[in-house]
Symmetry: C2
Subunit: 242 residues, 2 copies
Amino acid sequence: MTQSIPLHAFVEKLARRRVLSDRDREALFALPHVVKTMRRHDYLVREEEEAKNCCVILSGFAVRHKATRYGARQIFSIHMAGDGVDLSNSQLGKADHNIQMLCAGDVAFIPVDAIREVTFAWPATCQAMWYDSLVDGAIFREWTLNVGRRDALSRMAHMLCEFAIRLDEAGLGATQGYELPMTQEELADALGLTTIHVNRTLKALAKEKLIVRTSRSVEILDWARLAIIGDFDSGYLHLESA
Amino acid sequence: MTQSIPLHAFVEKLARRRVLSDRDREALFALPHVVKTMRRHDYLVREEEEAKNCCVILSGFAVRHKATRYGARQIFSIHMAGDGVDLSNSQLGKADHNIQMLCAGDVAFIPVDAIREVTFAWPATCQAMWYDSLVDGAIFREWTLNVGRRDALSRMAHMLCEFAIRLDEAGLGATQGYELPMTQEELADALGLTTIHVNRTLKALAKEKLIVRTSRSVEILDWARLAIIGDFDSGYLHLESA
DNA sequence: CGGGCCGTTGAGCGGGCTCAAGACATGTGG
DNA sequence: CCACATGTCTTGAGCCCGCTCAACGGCCCG
């Protein structure tokens, strides 16, 4: 029998999407899973691969990304502890994008079939996962708006705001500041910019006394102005607290 | 009792995502719904609104979009007959984006609660809708990659390819050409460009003998080259035929 | 026939890119 | 302890894709 602790954050996150009964929770905790410790840059899924597991992040961070034929890479979202990060690739058959660890961390692998069976037997769990996927979709849309219609400064500010709120919600950070284990190159791939311009944009935000960036962490000096510059409204994250 | 014909394309689309039994189909056909004829530019849902219905498009086209505080608009996806276009807003409470008709057409409105009840009672229908939302998510991601990492010519070509394939799948067009009821301004909002640059980009594609654009339709002269220039691979659409 | 809406074209500008180089860490082996 | 490699961050200079501003033409419809 597997331990029930590892999936705790995942189940709690689902329970925030849709009310779950005790028996729904039990069914989720009973999901068979294997925990593996992944290193920075390890892939959880590769594009074109037949995904056989759903991955739940227990610690660390992962990104979804895909590249054009010419190698230009776009990061679509960042995931953190408690996120079930591969419901998409695994349910749809062949993966259409990559999922890669941003830093070392533990990941639980759950066989796809087990997810299918639980969601078939326990309708509330299916609705919870569906709703969770809908929130993921909302985040993708906001990301598109960010990349398509905001300038570099605004884009960066928006993304920093999103992380602050999501980390806060997951109990992993605060709106005053947080660990952000991304290199400038990774930030560039997330924002549709070049590394060089990310560097200048971060400097510009620091010069405006909005943030202080030290090695791999961010301190937010003026949340209100950062949110205005980033045109940030947390509605699309669909948090209860909002 | 409502007619069962209107939802036919919608149910068939769901059945392509996940095998449905006859009883699952019956439950879906029995969904209460009201059919309304909408005009061009009518809103199906507005941002910030409490969405009380799911909208299924019966004819015509609709877009999802959202604007920044400064009025710059981004279109996230185009929807066509058979698409259940508002599962997201309605299940998540307050809408985080707008859905608007691109041209006149009929739309079936299904109360949210009815969807909740059917998906709770019939697990396969819940999985089907979930998988459909996952495909929507894949389309959003590709859109982000398009806007973030491809130049104007490639972006336009990619979008034209996506429409061709999706219209073909929905039985509404062909890869040789199709009706595209979008103005250049709407294309611009979809691609993260300006109207003027869209005009020049379309001209550039025509000059390369890749397409011919007449009023509101597109003829594709050289699919193979268009797909190469657009860096298009239909994998992310997760069609069976692929 | 006049007023929107939409498409078209030109001229000039600028945000972000490209190319190039150097600074500063961290790790590894000798 | 140093020598060296590798990855990341920083800075400068110049250029180009796509934007802005401006104007005009075609079409539909009242």
